[in-house]
Symmetry: C2
Subunit: 460 residues, 2 copies
Amino acid sequence: MAERLVVIGGDAAGMSAASQARKRRGPEDLEIVAFERGNFTSYSACGIPYYLGDVVEDFDDLIVRTPEKFRDKQQIDARIHHEVVAIDLGARNVTVRDLANDSEAIEGFDQLVVATGGKPVRPPLEGVDARGIFGVQTLDDAVAIENFLENEKPKHAVVIGGGYIGLEMAEAFQLRGLDVALVERSAQPMVTLDPDIGELVAEAMRGLGVDLYSSEAVTGFEAKDGSVATVVTDNRTLHADIVVLGLGTRPNVELARMAGITIGESGGVKVDQRMQTEIEGVWSAGDCAEKINRVSGKPVAIALGTHANKEGRIAGINIGGGYATFPGVLGTATSKVCGYEVARTGLNEAEAKDAGFEFTTATSESTTRAGYFPGASPITTKLVVEQRSGRLLGAQIFGKEGAAKRIDGLAVALWNEMTVDAMVNVDLSYAPPFAPVWDPVLIAARKAWDKVQLELANLK
Amino acid sequence: MAERLVVIGGDAAGMSAASQARKRRGPEDLEIVAFERGNFTSYSACGIPYYLGDVVEDFDDLIVRTPEKFRDKQQIDARIHHEVVAIDLGARNVTVRDLANDSEAIEGFDQLVVATGGKPVRPPLEGVDARGIFGVQTLDDAVAIENFLENEKPKHAVVIGGGYIGLEMAEAFQLRGLDVALVERSAQPMVTLDPDIGELVAEAMRGLGVDLYSSEAVTGFEAKDGSVATVVTDNRTLHADIVVLGLGTRPNVELARMAGITIGESGGVKVDQRMQTEIEGVWSAGDCAEKINRVSGKPVAIALGTHANKEGRIAGINIGGGYATFPGVLGTATSKVCGYEVARTGLNEAEAKDAGFEFTTATSESTTRAGYFPGASPITTKLVVEQRSGRLLGAQIFGKEGAAKRIDGLAVALWNEMTVDAMVNVDLSYAPPFAPVWDPVLIAARKAWDKVQLELANLK
């Protein structure tokens, strides 16, 4: 008799797991049902700011695979508008609410994938539920914001939170012709960057005309006829016709926690090397699952589509009878903001300190192409490097076209625990349209190694 | 008393060595003299096609550092128009001909750097010395070609050889409005690529309007009044007002060989880990020096500016009293040709076979950005992977903007002897303007790993 795989959550992690399991086991051997409470399966949440900014025109382009395709091409029964409200590990079933019919049913499983994703942080402030205040996490959020923009024609937008999504939404509103203010509690936007690199991002935002209020906390919202009218911070009151919350997400683990599945210290579902929870046959992947940061060795909760896809794949291979392990993450991330490219991988200074490393940093200023080549533009590369050993711990890049993807070479170096001394000699590519003869990455490595050696000499 | 360092060759390798040595030892401890037979020191030969194509407008931009700067800023006595014609290892001196005065002098050394570079291949064909036939190796060549273009206003250009320089020169002539034909002996241009990827380059060239004659050998040249008039191949006669030889270079080692310095089997000067020849205190770096290919383990002669700079740096650190070793090369190279980007690293199929590897290949077709993002364009990524182990042996990339620099992540993976299985999980960067959620590089790695596993199953 066929086993039954139930997947909770129809986005990247869940559907990657389902697809990989299906690739290895046919429908006669494995029945697959996926429950998604929203309207959409497998979509690009990262594309939402570009859709809302009219950079990407066709909404359907954001949908990677529809429920119909899952059914017809892969014999995966993906049911939207179905919310799993309880997991019974003893009876090995889930309780599913059909949101369209407001009915509930019990669905048994042999294998279960918990891919419940992230829960956007909503500050417990007065007025936060007013009309016109949106999260930006799901395609349903995108639809709601697009409808609001079309119908209400807001003029003043306030974005709360200066992370990737916050910055990308600020730019999207700018592109749509709105006045945009961004409020960020920290001194700089993008707290996953060091302050010096974050300041470069702040300058770029101001250059685009975004009103940036950093080191300011939102204390509440004022509404008029139920719709948001102002955002109140500890320093000022900002006029707002539309507000977007870009405060990040936390792992959405209530369902798992209530069922008795172990939650790790990061707040994500605890999983082993194969993405299995402490319960046999119950797996977790994506934003809700805990990952190990390979550099710090610490359990972390990071919400990135790249991780979700990879982790889902690993879970699916194992459910499918194969063998695969997930080796952890570096937290590599990138974004295009206000005409600039920014990228990071590994540990920033604060994270390196927190992990107990002694480190030094080196920052190189170079150009994306040979200095004399048309279109050459500045690129800043910062490395965080362990003292004594010179081992790379993290990297951050800020610059124009061609800057961001350079983080990948550093990510692979970090993955292999390379020292900057070794990195200097790596045979990276060069041609005048693409790089100076010493790539900015290598210049930074040279500079970092010089610093490590100098400090080593001083230590003795 | 101060030691004396003599450097033969004033370009990347030689002057990098001189600079690094100076950084560690002041003029009171080390006198440095560099002899360069041409007109220029430290220049970007890779920039020549872009200067001749009017992409780079200012000739001086190609000069990284003039003799005056070396003298004033670094107290390095760099003498142009000085050709070293003999090395006496016993007496530890060199014979130098002053080309301006046609006089010779003996110059002693304690340390010697042989950085004599490459010698362009000139086919021993009738008429090859006619006016209007040029090599493209030094800045002096660039000046000669530019003057010819300006004064003679040639209409028909023939490029012989479809390597990087040949293709870039073909494009440069196109940009200058000439009719361009390219003759290549192999079936495809760029023999450092596999034929399937080389064919993509061939299509791009034809798309730009270059007449490509592949699998054709040049048999001679016909001149009229001493100037080249036609190029004769084994298939046709091509009208030619200007001809460029892009047949690559060989290590320029005659001087070293005559002095008794050991030449390796690759044809380059044999060096140890620190870039020292078999003679104590005599070093070599750059196009004339032998390198080890890290993947094949074989000694090779490759002429790339990146290697020259790195090797010169290593030699200079050691001469300066430091300690550094050169770990070998991957042969990473890239070029922008006819609107496309092409890059390679490690071994191609022929090289892998030659090294005794059993391998499989996988090619992914993806996009440079998220498929739905404006400007997303096709990118082809081909991997050469060892059977059974899945170890990466080489990679080739062809595509539009954003394609080429992706070779760097693969180069670092190759450097660390990663398997494609491990590579699949590496935390590379993703955002819709820069990549699909599975970067093309990772898609290729997935595909290659699937193939390795399948072949492994079939082997049993």
